[in-house]
């Protein structure tokens, strides 16, 4: 929720009181989940570039070049909060969200991995419920969209009992032009995919707060449909090949609001006379329910929706492609040159302010070292065969080392110009116990051990993605853990020339004062030498 100071800040920026719709937009966009307000200043320090990096943090996913015109995009994302409230749908939509980040950029998803953290199922029925639900959700969605899950790692500790962590990573490959998330030219906005409903409203705000007991948050969780996602993948990749796309965004956290404003907020180039602005007409948005208000449409997190910015001459061809795949597509607005975010509904203006007002000022939260050093290791051990066999790790036919191997190796689907195959190695890991005792050292040790693992199988380590899961950042001790982890990452990545090209931060993994262990999860890509 917006604080009093933030409300005053909004009023001074707009020179008036915001109306209800505008207030909801600011509420979502200034949530921790969307604005990264706590972590932004720290993340700037990260080492993010070497000669393999094609585009680093800032896009939907990090992109690396692996020789020739072959590029690989990968990113890891958390879906922790929804997975506790509604394990099956929470985990399933987590996979859907990370896949959309990849194929939005024009990449075909070729592999999925996940890292899961639960409370001890031996001691608590609730943990068992969450674990079974999460695994069902991940397998259902991943198998159905036809992307192999090549690695799955599970760790247990009582600290994760009320805050399970679900981190999923997706890897994609392309040889075509990459589609950015920011508009570089004027164009028209095309809405594609599922209809907008009332599910997931306020999800971004929910994920930016701690849990309190006894509150039903289920309406804030989205509902996934893997079949629709599969159609979207095929249709979007077909559209990407036409070259008509200026920019594309998936509607994830904060739905239409965040995808539309992100297209515009950094948009602009020589072709723009002024600043990039956006005009939306909500009457055209396909709705699942009647009587939805403007703020509900703007903030709904219904899944499997995409927003494209297309050249005028590409609209007809795009509509033909989506018609072929039986997907809804509607033109809902266009880009302007006035730099404003303007939203119409029923002929009235319900939102009108400069896009630049949405940028959140950085926040420096205080931190203090922590001296608590209790023994936290979990003793729970079990055979994972029953879980691993539920993932389809061989679909697409390119899995060389799969889910039962330590390091996954995936073949790039198309041979290169010389008729040779390329292979990438994928490895993810996390050492929460080590990080708990010494956050800086833990992160360093984790990254260097990942580096080693890739080298052992004969791969050249190229780049990293991460998902930083922490407790409540308003607690200075948690902030200390976070700061130290970033310090460690920066140092080791620079030494190893192992850049971080994408990432995600999940704060507020706290329930009734109990925080999780500091859990930075890292995923790495290596290029096989043979």
């Amino acid at each position: 929720m917006l604080t009093k100071d933030e409300l005053i800040e909004i009023e001074t920026r707009l020179n008036r009181k915001p109306n209800h719709t505008e207030k909801s937009v600011f509420d979502a966009m200034w949530s921790e989940h969307c604005s990264y307000k706590t972590s932004k200043s720290h993340l700037k320090r990260l080492y993010t570039n070497n000669r393999y990096v094609y585009s680093g943090p800032g896009e939907n996913a990090g992109v690396i070049s692996i020789g020739g015109t072959d590029r690989v995009a990968f990113k890891m994302e958390s879906h922790n909060h929804p997975s506790y409230i509604e394990p099956f749908q929470g985990a399933a939509t987590g996979v859907g969200g990370i896949l959309r980040d990849i194929f939005t950029m024009g990449f075909r998803p070729i592999a999925l991995t996940n890292n899961l953290f639960f409370g001890d199922p031996a001691f608590s029925d609730d943990s068992k419920r969450v674990m079974n639900g999460v695994i069902k959700g991940l397998t259902h969605y991943g198998n159905c969209v036809g992307v192999p899950t090549v690695s799955s790692k599970i760790q247990f500790n009582k600290r994760y009992e009320k805050n399970p962590l679900v981190n999923a990573m997706a890897v994609g490959h392309t040889r075509e032009r990459i589609i950015g998330s920011v508009a570089k030219d004027l164009g028209r906005l095309l809405y594609v995919g599922a209809k907008t409903g009332r599910d997931g409203i306020g999800g971004a705000v929910m994920a930016s707060d701690s849990f309190t007991d006894g509150v039903d948050l289920r309406p804030t969780v989205q509902v996934g449909d893997p079949y629709l996602e599969k159609l979207l993948i095929e249709a979007c990749l077909e559209l990407a090949e036409t070259g008509h796309v200026i920019a594309a965004q998936d509607m994830g956290a904060a739905g239409l609001t965040s995808s539309a404003t992100e297209i515009g907020i950094k948009g602009g180039s020589a072709t723009f006379k002024g600043k990039c602005g956006i005009e939306l007409n909500l009457d055209k948005v396909p709705l699942r329910e009647t009587g939805m208000e403007a703020w509900e449409i703007l903030l709904s997190e219904s899944q499997e929706r995409m927003l494209f910015v297309l050249h005028d001459w590409g609209i007809e061809e795009a509509k033909a492609i989506f018609d072929k795949w039986d997907l809804d597509c509607v033109e809902i607005g266009h880009l302007t040159e006035d730099g404003n975010f303007t939203v119409y509904k029923d002929g009235n203006v319900c939102c009108n302010f400069p896009l630049s007002a949405l940028e959140y000022p950085e926040l420096e939260r205080p931190w203090t070292p922590r001296f608590e050093k209790e023994e936290v290791q979990s003793e729970y051990r079990f055979s994972t065969e029953n879980i691993l066999s539920q993932y389809d790790s061989e679909v697409q036919g390119n899995t060389i080392k799969g889910i039962r191997d330590d390091v996954a190796i995936v073949r790039i689907p198309r041979k290169d110009a010389r008729g040779k195959d390329k292979h990438i190695a994928i490895y993810t890991d996390s050492f929460p116990y080590h990080s708990f005792v010494n956050p800086k050292n833990g992160a360093e040790f984790c990254i260097s051990s990942i580096y080693d693992k890739l080298v052992y199988v004969g791969a050249k380590p190229i780049a990293l993605t991460n998902c930083l899961n922490f407790g409540n950042p308003e607690n200075p001790e948690i902030m200390f853990e976070f700061k130290e982890t970033i310090d460690g990452m920066t140092r080791i990545c620079e030494k190893l020339n192992f850049p971080i090209v994408s990432g995600n931060v999940s704060f507020y993994n706290e329930t009734s004062g109990q925080n999780i262990l500091p859990t930075p999860v890292f995923g790495a890509i290596g290029l096989m030498k043979y």
Binding site: P226, E234, D326, Q390, G397, I400
Partner: protein
């Protein structure tokens, strides 16, 4: 030239590797058939690939039976006795079309299973992977079924360990294991070719 048509539905996952698999086998001409196509040229063999056609909504494989391409292909199979191979989801579609006897139910443990298994017919053993959630074959009179392959270690609880069945004329084969995942150097085996040959030369 032996022509093979691979039918692609929205939600099919395994068509790409099926086409790859067929392309590596010499002497085949492979065509992709989109589910909305009409006036389809007659092929010697049709392959219904694995996946989740139409999201497995209503019942696995049921909605695929309504597509225009399938209506034409069904005629080629029934009247001209052209061959048809259904793999995984394709098996489910062929059962729903009544081209094969019996039906497929949810696995006995109610879970998706992806692992290599060994199947056998009267001549040989074959090592191939399975990957399905609804692969538990059921027939009330299993002794009447023209069984193609059986599992050694039944993973899904199917009647009489049945992994694949022929129709009575022998021109339609439904298979739960994936032969298109057993042909490259890094796969569990290269028995996929043998299974394809067994059927093509039958």
């Amino acid at each position: 030239m032996y022509t093979v048509g691979v039918i692609i539905f929205p939600g099919s996952n395994c068509h790409a590797e099926t086409v790859n698999f067929l392309n590596t086998y010499t002497g085949l001409r492979v065509n992709r058939i989109w589910h909305k196509d009409t006036n389809i040229k007659m092929h010697d063999m049709y392959i219904f690939p694995g996946g989740f056609s139409y999201g497995d909504y209503m019942r696995a494989g049921k909605l695929a039976t309504f597509s225009p391409a399938v209506a034409e292909i069904e005629m080629h199979i029934r009247l001209y006795e052209k061959k048809a191979l259904g793999i995984c989801n394709g098996f489910q579609i062929l059962c729903e079309l009544d081209l094969l006897p019996g039906t497929l139910r949810q696995n006995e443990n109610l879970q998706f299973i992806c692992k290599p298994v060994t199947i056998y017919n009267e001549n040989e053993d074959y090592k191939v992977p399975i990957a399905h959630g609804i692969g538990n074959y059921y027939h009330p009179h299993p002794e009447l079924v023209n069984v193609a392959y059986r599992y050694y270690d039944n993973p899904n609880g199917s009647t009489n360990d049945i992994a694949g069945v022929y129709n009575h004329r022998g021109n339609v084969l439904g298979l739960m294991p994936h032969p298109e995942r057993a042909f490259e150097h890094y796969h569990v085996s290269r028995h996929g070719y043998k299974i394809l040959e067994n059927f093509a030369t039958k």
